[in-house]
Point group: C2
Chain length 112, copies 2
């Protein structure tokens, strides 16, 4: 079964996962909440390949979670900003952050 097949699952958690339940997608959203909006920012911040970022941004725009808009006409340059639907995803990321802070402390250099 493919993960996109979850999009009409009875469970709202599964439907949500079919759309954003992927590390890179969630990292892109995190970046948006941190104020980033441009392609190359996402690439360097997440460490994902350009290919992946390109694909995930397309999905997010299609799902109306991000909006792609031109901030420059010549040369053509775009930025991605959270829609209201996207903004409302904040509680999920906050829950991830809090859980990570509590249960996954950063390992120190001495422990590596």
């Amino acid at each position: 079964m493919k993960w996109t097949d979850l999009d009409d699952n009875w469970c709202p958690v599964a439907r949500t996962l079919s759309l954003v339940g992927d590390r890179w997608t969630l990292l892109i959203l995190r970046d948006c909440f941190l104020g980033m909006s441009r392609f190359d920012q996402f690439v360097s911040s997440t460490g994902a390949t350009r290919h992946l970022i390109s694909d995930r941004l397309k999905r997010l725009v299609e799902a109306d979670i991000l909006e792609k808009r031109a901030y420059s006409e010549r040369p053509k340059r775009f930025e991605y900003v959270l829609t209201e639907k996207g903004q409302e995803f904040a509680p999920a990321l906050i829950a991830f952050r809090d859980w990570g802070k509590k249960h996954l402390p950063v390992r120190r250099a001495t422990q590596r």
Copy 2:
């Protein structure tokens, strides 16, 4: 970059994702919160392959999010139950559920 490389990222969201930022892992956790605990239950409930479930359960046990314990000695049978660390992941799933309920309504048969 591989996703497991996120485990010592400065960002708690990224660290959390390196552990559970994968659809099947999150679906397994959802099932645990719904009261499921056995291998075949996870397989049929999530629709993932047995291979995947096997792999993800191993990770979750290793991360101390689930505990594997025998509920029968002869024949050997196991169940997987949430640890306290796992229990505390609930807010994230609740956020996913609420967002999905609000923004991703189930499509009806007539629309397919």
